[in-house]
């Protein structure tokens, strides 16, 4: 497996202290009322019946609007018919407006992407010659050359050379990244710009299907397909619409029998129908879906399908790579443990000196610890005259310095012991005990040895340990409350893994993990009915990414990984998986909340419209007019107006998503039921009454 090292400073991706309400939380998102006006023309264009039919609820409203228009035309003197007609049309337009606004936000981003795509000219290599062709003429397998200043003409892998590439067109991140042949950093994306050097790229994607093309269609919503849960909800809404259609159609013969023929004109019945069918959720359903994808895009995550976003809400197991996700990228020195008879300061001094030539992060951390803990100033290599530096290499696994007669070495236990033995030195009895203790605690021991006049000997041990990122434990606690189990994946031995797992507070760990182990783990979890999410970036992660229900590929990763996952994180930040889960949940909650709200609304509408229709036939039914609405006309009109306005009022909520806080199911249900169930029951009583009061101020009504 690979360990993704974030290109930016390690603390960038940490959850903010406290976590609550900070911008990284799902739930933020901008909504500008001006967008409503701007999207109005788009909303009108969506009145095409062929488009409307995809939402059965709103299609019924459209038909209702047409019917009332015809009726109003037949009796142009009737102000009531015109008023109802107007508001029914507005209801339809408001629904389209919600969708148009949601789509509009993606459009702007798509335009930026398009400018990056156009005009790329490829320098294709055929045999030994180089020819200039349009980027659109490239085929899979073509080799192209990109030099400093060139735009990469298509998606591909670097097969020769190394270059720094500006990927800001896609990621928005201006710092260039290095792309080189071989390994996990070979993928280049069409539309990005080569800043230096020269690379040969093998094209892996057909023109029109490149990453940037897919991004454009995704953010525009063109490729959006209804997700399984959305389809199921649509079916339920359609069947409720049929139930209400039945209730309203059969009402006419009932009314004729009751002697209320005049009060139940086709216009009134249409108004009743539109009020009853779940227009609120019907109008906002697709906007909620688009906005959910959009929230991911705003966090620089591209979901290749809405299905994946939904699945994210259902995830019950998260596989997280240790390095870069749970811990900072590298191990750090945590303590100096001297053997008996050696003062700790002497050990720290020796360790610092021997680490000056070690440019690895571990080496740097030894220098820093000595400075912080013992006040030992970091010495510049130049200020020690006559020093001979021994740099750290993967082969020797040691670094050090020779200062005249004094040689100091620091490195892996085996290497240092061999070095001491070679020089006929002695190893203090407690040195082994110290290394064992550190290993036992999951850390890595580094031995520090010296050879001077007293001969070669071990001075002590440096305790290197993985540093768990700040705030991770709290995040895992949150996840646990949400019912999500976290499994840490690491290449470390079980002992080390266990220590870090305990420190970070993950539920489980997979040590010495091979790609096969990872795959087996995913399959085992899935066999138990669980949905699994993971991140990955290497080619060897690809099978597991494809197998996982939510596979988030890092943008820095290989094209194989990006192809296998169903999401791509442009920031290449593995911690984002947690946010993705939250966004998935928030999407589902928003849908459920507005459905409940929409249904609960109907109760009040009945109390407005039924007495208006039948109080003449059965005066006793006037007692149902508990809101005390002024007249039958104003009552029906108020209900229709409320029904239309509530859509606009809820557009921001649909786009932003309901407020989400990680919590157990019970607490979440109680809160949302109270807010959207009981609220949905009561709000329209107040709303309709208020509109009715305003209407009575108009001349000729009430």
């Amino acid at each position: 497996m690979s360990t993704a090292t974030p290109a930016r400073a390690p603390h960038d991706d940490l959850p903010p202290p406290g976590g609550r309400g900070a911008p990284t939380r799902a739930g933020s998102g901008l909504f500008d009322p001006k967008q409503l006006l701007k999207s109005f023309p788009d909303a009108l264009r969506k009145l095409d019946p062929r488009v409307m039919i995809t939402s059965p609820v709103m299609f019924v409203v459209l038909v209702g609007s047409v019917v009332t228009t015809a009726l109003a035309l037949a009796d142009p003197a009737d102000w009531f018919g015109w008023a109802i007609t107007g508001w029914l049309w507005l209801t339809t337009v408001f629904a389209n407006l919600a969708e148009a606004v949601a789509e509009g936000r993606g459009k702007a981003q798509a335009d930026t992407l398009r400018t990056a795509r156009t005009g790329a000219v490829a320098r294709r290599i055929t045999g030994t010659k180089e020819e200039r062709v349009a980027g659109t003429e490239l085929r899979v397998g073509d080799l192209v050359v990109c030099e400093a200043g060139d735009i990469v003409p298509g998606d591909g892998d670097v097969v020769d050379g190394v270059a720094s590439v500006d990927e800001s067109a896609i990621t928005g991140e201006s710092a260039p990244v290095i792309r080189e042949s071989g390994g996990d950093r070979s993928a280049v994306t069409g539309g990005t710009k080569v800043l230096s050097d020269r690379v040969v790229v093998k094209i892996t994607t057909k023109p029109g299907e490149t990453f940037i093309d897919r991004m454009i269609s995704l953010v525009e919503g063109a490729a959006r397909q209804k997700t399984p849960n959305e389809i199921a909800l649509n079916i339920l809404l359609a069947s409720l619409t049929i139930v209400f259609l039945l209730a309203v159609v059969t009402l006419k013969p009932f009314a004729i029998y009751a002697g209320a023929d005049d009060q139940t004109s086709l216009i009134v019945l249409t108004a009743l129908l539109v009020c009853l069918i779940p227009t609120t959720i019907g109008a906002l359903l697709s906007a909620i879906g688009i906005a959910g994808m959009d929230r991911l895009v705003q966090r620089n995550v591209l979901a290749m399908s809405g299905r994946a976003v939904e699945a994210a809400g259902d995830v019950s197991t998260l596989l997280l790579d240790k390095t870069g996700t749970i811990t900072l990228g590298n191990r750090q020195a945590a303590a100096f443990l001297a053997v008996e008879g050696v003062p700790e300061e002497a050990l720290a001094d020796a360790a610092q000196l021997s680490s000056l030539a070690d440019e690895t992060p571990e080496g740097r951390s030894v220098v820093v610890l000595a400075k912080e803990r013992y006040g030992l100033r970091e010495r510049d290599r130049g200020e020690l005259a006559g020093a001979e530096w021994v740099a750290f290499t993967a082969q020797t696994r040691m670094s050090g310095v020779d200062l005249g007669g004094r040689r100091i070495r620091k490195g892996a236990a085996g290497s240092v012991l061999a070095w001491v033995a070679e020089r006929g030195g002695s190893v203090a009895a407690d040195a082994r005990a110290l290394t064992d203790r550190i290993s036992g605690a999951g850390g890595t021991p580094l031995l520090v040895a010296v050879e001077d006049a007293e001969g070669a000997r071990v001075l002590g041990v440096v305790h290197l340990k993985d540093v768990v990122k700040e705030g991770m434990r709290e995040r895992f606690d949150e996840l646990r409350r949400m019912g999500i189990r976290t499994v840490m994946i690491t290449g470390d031995n079980p002992l080390t893994a266990k220590a870090i797992a305990e420190e970070a507070g993950v539920d489980d760990f997979l040590a010495e993990a091979t790609p096969e182990d990872k795959m087996a783990l995913i399959k085992r979890e899935q066999a138990g009915g669980k949905l699994v999410a993971m991140t990955g970036d290497g080619t060897n992660d690809a099978p597991a990414l494809a197998q996982a229900d939510v596979g988030v590929a890092m943008n820095t990763g290989t094209s194989a990984a990006k192809e296998a996952g169903n999401m791509v994180d442009l920031d290449s930040n593995p911690t984002k998986l947690i946010e993705i889960v939250e966004i998935g949940k928030q999407l589902l909650i928003t849908r459920g909340a507005l459905t409940t709200f929409s249904l609960a609304n109907d109760v009040a509408k009945y109390f407005a419209i039924i007495p208006a229709m039948f109080a003449v036939a059965y005066p006793s039914l006037d007692r149902l007019n508990i809101m005390g609405l002024a007249s039958p006309e104003s009552a029906i009109l108020s209900a229709v107006i409320f029904n239309a306005l509530i859509i606009v009022a809820l557009v921001p909520l649909a786009l932003r998503g309901v407020r989400y806080r990680p919590a157990g199911a019970d607490r979440m249900l109680r809160r949302n039921l109270g807010l959207y169930g009981v609220g949905g029951l009561l709000a329209p009583f107040a709303g309709i009454k208020l509109i009715d009061l305003l209407l009575t101020l108009l001349p000729g009504i009430g």
């Binding site: 199921a232 359609a238 139930v243 039945l246 009314a255 039924i610 249900l669």
Partner: protein, 554 residues
């Protein structure tokens, strides 16, 4: 003791009796449907009908067996009535007319037991005991089989198999309904109900004059009539008749019989899905609705104002003095919240609200606690709908008992939900729009409307009780109600079995802290709300024009 206190005491006694029976009966039924053993008499039956009781069936096979069996039953019952004039032991009654025979056959096979005939003036011993009483057992066993198949759908995973229809049918009859009926009949005989095969007697009346009465196997038929939530009375007066329901004690016992299996089935459900708490949540939901309706009914019937009513201690018109307001209200709510439809008083004579409560009870889909079997599968469908509506609000795709409620599941549940409102509202509207059906009404205005609305509500929901006042023995009503009863029974069963099949194929999702807990009071409350709102929204306009217009006027 005031009648109100007597009513409360009766209710408490009833609750105590139901609570005592709940555990043993529920567990026993779970055992019956889970056992591997076949008793010898059962084996004889299987051999006779050529069934292999241990062969597992997928839902289409289960459904085919059920539909074939029911079709044969309808045909048999139809022919028996048509040939009655030629059969011995028929008390000299003639054959039944085709439309009425169809109506009655459909009615008894669909567990509705709507009666457009007068038992004591039309049906002899052979049809009553050999035809109608047999269906009282079998139609109830069919309902339980469907419920058990759905429960197995929730309990099983990665198989499409739902059990064996023939085994479920036979066991439900032989091991549950028959033994309970024997005990119940003995109790009723002890209370004074009739059990003989006597011919027609002429008896004198207190006020002078004479009238003719026949005997019959009344107590035994009465028991299964209540126990199997059938409701077809031996006599036209049904459970108001002293031969069927002689005393306040027998009255309370009959209400107990109506409710005992439907309530205990929630325990069976909990047992079979491996979580008694899930069963308790469903029990709680049904009990809350039942108690709420009973309280409302008692309140509206006792509170009925006016000097005449006050002298009688509430609205006594159409009620037996033996049972009083409380005994009648208890019975009326129990019979309409289950698919029983037996009556011990005349719902037409209830207050406007009281009549509305009986209608709403049926319109809820008869799920609190509902008919034997049909009540359980009805409320499980509502549980699926409630999970879908509210489950999203916890941020996961909805699941119930570990099974995902996806597109297919919601499609089937939605179809189930559509059937009865379409039948009730559709037929009522057509009946009002046509010129002749309205002639059957006794009353005009809102009450007349209620008569027809009640008839189709009762038929399509397989209740079988009548509002009284409507002359239903016409070709129009016999035919349309017959169709409503058959479609109202078997279309939902098709959807339930298909749902059971799709659930049984699924692999369960393990429960986590993020799962909506469906065994908690919060969920039960949500389920009550969903049931009331979904039904209320569907029927509110119709109810407003009938019972509400009447009730608000007084």
């Amino acid at each position: 003791m005031s009648p109100q206190i007597a009513g409360v005491l009766q209710l408490l006694a009833l609750i105590a009796a139901l609570a005592l029976a709940y555990r043993p009966l529920g567990d026993y039924m779970a055992g019956v449907y889970s056992s591997e053993k076949h008793y010898r008499p059962e084996k004889w039956i299987y051999r006779a009908i050529g069934a292999q009781p241990s062969a597992e069936m997928r839902w289409p096979a289960y459904l085919r067996g059920l539909l074939a069996f029911s079709a044969v039953s309808v045909l048999f019952l139809y022919l028996l009535q048509r040939l009655q004039g030629a059969l011995p032991g028929s008390l000299g009654f003639s054959s039944i007319d085709p439309d009425q025979a169809f109506n009655t056959a459909a009615s008894f096979v669909a567990n509705t037991n709507w009666q457009s005939y007068y038992g004591e003036q039309a049906m002899g011993h052979v049809v009553q005991t050999g035809g109608l009483a047999v269906q009282n057992f079998l139609s109830a066993a069919v309902g339980m089989a469907v419920a058990v198949a759905l429960v197995r759908g929730f309990a099983r995973s990665r198989t499409g198999e739902l059990g064996n229809f023939w085994a479920d049918l036979v066991r439900g009859t032989v091991r549950i309904l028959l033994p309970l009926s024997v005990v119940g009949a003995l109790v009723l005989v002890a209370c004074g109900a009739l059990q003989n095969f006597a011919g027609i007697h002429e008896v004198g009346q207190f006020t002078g004059g004479t009238q003719e009465w026949n005997g019959g196997a009344v107590a035994s038929q009465e028991t299964i009539k209540e126990l199997g939530t059938n409701g077809g009375g031996y006599f036209n007066a049904n459970s108001a008749h002293p031969f069927e329901n002689p005393s306040p004690l027998s009255n309370l016992f009959e209400i107990f019989l109506i409710l005992v299996i439907p309530f205990a089935l929630t325990r069976t459900f909990g047992r079979m899905v491996g979580s008694l708490r899930q069963g308790y949540a469903i029990l709680g939901t049904t009990a809350v609705i039942w108690l709420g309706f009973t309280a409302l009914m008692m309140w509206t019937e006792f509170a009925h104002r006016g000097p005449a009513f006050e002298i009688a201690g509430g609205a006594m018109e159409g009620k037996e003095t033996r049972f009083g307001v409380a005994g009648s209200s208890l019975f009326a709510v129990a019979t309409t919240l289950t698919s029983t439809g037996a009556v011990n008083s005349f719902h037409s004579s209830y207050t406007g609200f009281g009549g509305g409560i009986t209608m709403l009870g049926m319109q809820l889909g008869e799920i609190a606690p509902g008919g034997v079997g049909s009540g359980l599968y009805g409320i499980l469908i509502m549980a699926v709908i409630a999970v879908f509506l509210a489950g999203l609000m916890v941020g996961r795709t909805p699941e119930y008992l570990g099974k995902k409620i996806g597109t297919r599941q919601i499609k089937l549940a939605a179809c189930y939900l559509l059937v009865t409102p379409a039948l009730v509202l559709g037929f009522t509207a057509v009946a009002l729009a046509l010129p002749t059906p309205g002639n059957s009404m006794t009353n005009s205005g809102a009450h007349g409307f209620s008569e027809i609305l009640y008839a189709y509500t009762s038929g399509a929901n397989n209740n079988g009780s009548a509002f009284a006042g409507l002359d239903a023995d016409t070709q129009w009503f016999n035919t349309t109600l017959g169709i409503a009863m058959l479609l109202g029974r078997f279309l939902p069963i098709v959807f339930v079995l298909a749902l059971a099949g799709s659930l049984a194929e699924q692999q369960p999702v393990p429960e986590t802290a993020g799962t909506l807990r469906t065994d908690k009071p919060l969920y039960a409350g949500l389920l009550v709300g969903t049931i009331l709102i979904v039904t209320g929204l569907t029927y509110f306009p119709a109810l407003a024009l009938g019972p509400l217009a009447e009730g608000l006027a007084s």
